[in-house]
Amino acid sequence: MWAIELPPFVPFFIAALFAAVTRGWLRSTILLLAPVLGGLHLMTMPEGIYWQTSFLGYELTPYKVDSLSLIFGYAFHIAAFIATLYALHVKDNVQQVAAPLYAGSAMGAVFAGDLLTLFVFWELLALTSVFLIWARRTSRSYFAGIRYLIIQVLSGVILLIGLLFHAADTGSLAFGAIGTGSLGGWLIFLAFGIKCAFPFLHTWLTDAYPEATPTGTVFLSAFTTKVAVYALARAYPGTEMLVYIGAAMACFPIFFAVIENDLRRVLAYSLINQVGFMVVGIGIGTALSINGAVSHAFNDIIFKGLLFMTMGAVLHMTGRINGSDLGGLYKTMPRTTLFCIVGAASISAFPLFSGFVSKSMVMSAAIEEGYDWVWLMLLFSAAGVFHHAGIKIPYFAFFAHDSGIRVSDPPINMQLAMFIAAALCVTIGVYPSMLYSLLPYDTSYNPYDATHILAQTQLLFFSALAFVWLNLRNMYPPELRSTNLDVDWVYRRLCPTIIQGFVARLAVIGELNNALVHKIGALSPTLARQFGPDGALSSTHPVGSMVKWVIILLAVYLMLSFI
């Protein structure tokens, strides 16, 4: 039956179509039904290929299900449901249509069995998500959206060039293990790397995500980077370079996060840090590490979404998001505070919260495979995560000095969405076997032994002690209204300045040229008369006269041929 084999992106695209023309409770119902029905349907799908077609002699597989795509599919359906519920009060048509299209594109990319289908959804991810940034309707979000779109589309174009090389090499477009053995492989790796926010390619994320709407960022945080993680896990497992790239990703953003004032930008840096753990897991390439990477992606989608939701709630209610403007909100937003603390505990990998059961897998795999220095870096960044995401976010928003702002908890749909995410964080943390049963490999991993629990708790408590000590000694950097330069300075300031300088130089050359023409004119009036603006040799001829001469020449040629 055709309905059984409906690809998972279809319900979302249909919902987007209806969302454009309906309003009120009807639209809310349709938007919520898409992830619910899609998710239930996905649970009945056994692994296999459901749609195969042929295009220009290449075999295309737009819909393929296996254990790796399935777990990402589940996570995306959960994220789509929670984020849609969170955004239910939004009246803006642009956002309500763009969001399901964006979620659907992510589904399409994850269930793509060939590279061309992946490319199509890869670009759709960019085109649909940018509207969630522009929907903020500020000049900042306008420019951030344009920069985001340029970089995302560039990633897609590189993917397209890479897949053409790859297809020429191998004669197949199948989306499986690719490896960095060829030029095509490298280009595809680079394309995935841009979307995955590799170091130096990461600024689109920290630039654009904090400028999106309060609800839009919740969608953005769930899909784009996780699709890239999925793509890396499928095409480049065990690529050793990923271990070092991932370790760098896990470490460098935490320094920026500590001095950043915009709390949603702090979370954006923290997002790169968490993706770093996943990239390390993919790079190590053992069954345990891939399981760790995938389960951490699953958990991150939920707890990072939860943290972005709590900060979105703060922005929605107070209109502010800078740490320097906030503080003391726990007094009147007790539920949001509680949800934020659950999210913070999960991302920090406290025992009994979801981050703990997945992050420890990657770290165990790193030490088992002999990556000692990488393990130390991951340990450092695990402590650092607690420092900036675990303590800084809740502390500066809800506690710290009292800003005097008194706002209530956000609308009920936002609270409900945060509650579901928080409940999932705790449930997965307490019953990790639920998550483990979905993983692509069978490994009997138990995170809850005395060694792990004690080590992780010690690490976190003494990170907190460091925070307290630094605060008491006034050594903790205060929240300041500021912009911190990152790699995006190169294309936002350096290149424009160089180009402006270059244009100014050209203008000077042009003036010199004019002066030279006048000089020549003065030197030789005859030449000037011939070549000057009104000179005989500078005159232009109409096309008609040229046609006339062509006809005459052809006629002469014809006559000559008769002679």
């Binding site: 340990l379 402590a383 650092g384 800003s403 060694t451 004690l454 002690l465 050594m475 912009t483 911190n484």
Partner: protein
């Protein structure tokens, strides 16, 4: 957690909340310090298996966590000396550009209307 630049004067709210009482903060901090101490003591009680020789060092995880975070903050503070700019560092040229675009457009429209 005490902060010297506390500004209570903006609050127009008579209710006294949990952390407004210094006594509560003090109790919370004492509990926290006690837990930290307990965790170090547990290191000797619980017989851990280790993967790596460094883990056998005395109180490896507590010391690594504490020093790691202090180093993190010190380096991050130092980074501010050369990375920090005004809040509107990027905004000014962008807004000027937006103004130019919209200005050019309005001139063009006037032009069309004039014809």
């Amino acid at each position: 957690m005490s902060n010297p630049d506390i500004k209570h004067d903006q609050i127009h709210d008579d209710r006294v909340y949990f952390f407004d009482k210094p006594r509560n903060v003090k109790i919370l901090m004492r509990v926290f310090y006690a837990l930290c101490a307990l965790l170090v003591v547990l290191d000797f009680v619980i017989n851990r298996y280790t993967y790596h020789p460094w883990e056998n060092l005395w109180a490896f995880y507590p010391i690594y966590g504490f020093i790691g975070c202090v180093v993190l903050v010190v380096i991050a503070k130092w980074m501010r000396t050369f990375l920090m700019r005004d809040e509107d560092y990027y905004d000014k040229p962008e807004e000027r550009r937006l103004h130019e675009i919209s200005h050019a457009r309005s001139v063009e429209e006037d032009h069309h209307v004039g014809h």
